[in-house]
Symmetry: C2
Subunit: 214 residues, 2 copies
DNA sequence: TTTTGTGAATTGCTTCACAGCA
DNA sequence: TGCTGTGAAGCAATTCACAAAA
């Protein structure tokens, strides 16, 4: 049983990176890995790595390091991705279509099993590539959430529609939203929201270039 | 002249959010905005907002607040997006195609003006929608970087190719990379790298659901 | 030896609270 | 009065450094 409370948010963010790197070590047939090796691969200190894992329990073996397959299992358990879960997506514009075609989610434990759009033009569309579902109207969302036990939704609609669609998702039973619209989504504390604003990331790079360099 | 050094990284991240929100206030015809209003819209404290701006200079007017158009200009200047700049993209898979079709970059000061891919099958392709350039082979990258004064590149290739392509971009003169591949890119300190791992964000949501709730 | 786990020290970030200006 | 800018205080996260385990 971990302390469960008082875990720094940055530590949780890094947990995902550790998992990704552990899987890379596993693919390269490393049986064990030390906090220093793991930190080096991710540009973190060895102390940081040990402290982060310590928030969740005792995973290491003194003198040995961490056993890779064991740690992968335990981190997945912590993140809740030890079993596949279903997610839905709303907004089948350019980005939405790219995201449902994107193979990377399934490898990390998330299956995109339903897509919704307001536009009747794309509803019924068999979505790009051989995908097993067709695009449905938003009105069907609550039913699909129940039938497929969906907890997470990806929001890929234009900015002006984002808050209203988010409200619809929440009312329909979605518990967490990954938002790609460049607006701040307002939701209750019991709803988890993460936002990815592609423009923001380029701005960060632009700022760094302005200061890092002459 | 700002102090220039010792600016917390979180403050720089929030600067992009302030800009986005200021533009929303501007569109709604707000002439001025207080730190409290701005903070409320972004779920931040008023003190946080004032302190963040203070890292970069004195922008506010006591008793009044911040003048919206003025602050927008100054934040853009700080981020280096007061003038449009050219960016390139490598990797015309699903995600890459969606990103070049994505209108949101131009509004924030970034024009995607060139696209590259390894696959001869897509080279020469006029890219989706009416876009003014065609996909080129990677060998052309250094020349394009020079001709179009490109400093930033978007990396949207599969994970196994990402590091090699990043090296090619850097050797070609790119100074900052926005990486969508789920790997840590190794680059010199003079190169700015930002990574967006779509799977990681879903994992964060998954973790929050596991702990927030029963 | 090697390497973890962890209290203690340190560094960094945020919030507080108020002087000063409009 | 309303609101900014900022030193000081408080809190959070990281790094240090070492006892214990293999």
């Amino acid at each position: 049983m971990p302390k469960s409370d008082n875990i720094p948010a940055p530590a949780v963010r890094r947990l995902s990176l550790y998992l990704r790197q552990l899987e890379a070590f596993h693919a390269a047939d490393h049986r064990t890995v030390s906090s220093r090796q793991l930190g080096e691969a991710l540009s973190l200190s060895d102390a940081q790595v040990r402290k982060d894992f310590a928030y969740f329990g005792q995973f290491g073996h003194p003198g040995i390091g961490y056993r890779v397959p064991e740690l992968i299992q335990r981190v997945r358990r912590i993140l809740g991705t030890d079993k596949q879960s279903n997610v839905l997506l709303v907004g089948m514009g350019n980005l939405g279509r790219a995201l449902v075609s994107f193979g990377g989610f399934a490898k990390r434990g998330f299956d995109v099993v339903a897509a919704f759009d307001r536009d009747p033009g794309v509803i019924g569309m068999k979505s790009p590539r051989p995908i097993a579902f067709s695009v449905q109207p938003l009105a069907d969302l609550p039913q699909v959430v129940k039938e497929k036990s969906i907890r997470l939704g990806i929001l890929a609609v234009p900015a002006p529609a984002a808050q209203a669609v988010a409200d619809t998702m929440i009312a329909g039973g979605v518990r967490g939203i990954l938002n790609f619209a460049p607006v701040t989504i307002q939701a209750g504390l019991e709803i988890a929201v993460a936002s990815v604003d592609l423009g923001v990331h380029l701005e960060q790079l632009s700022f760094q270039l302005g200061t890092t360099v002459s």
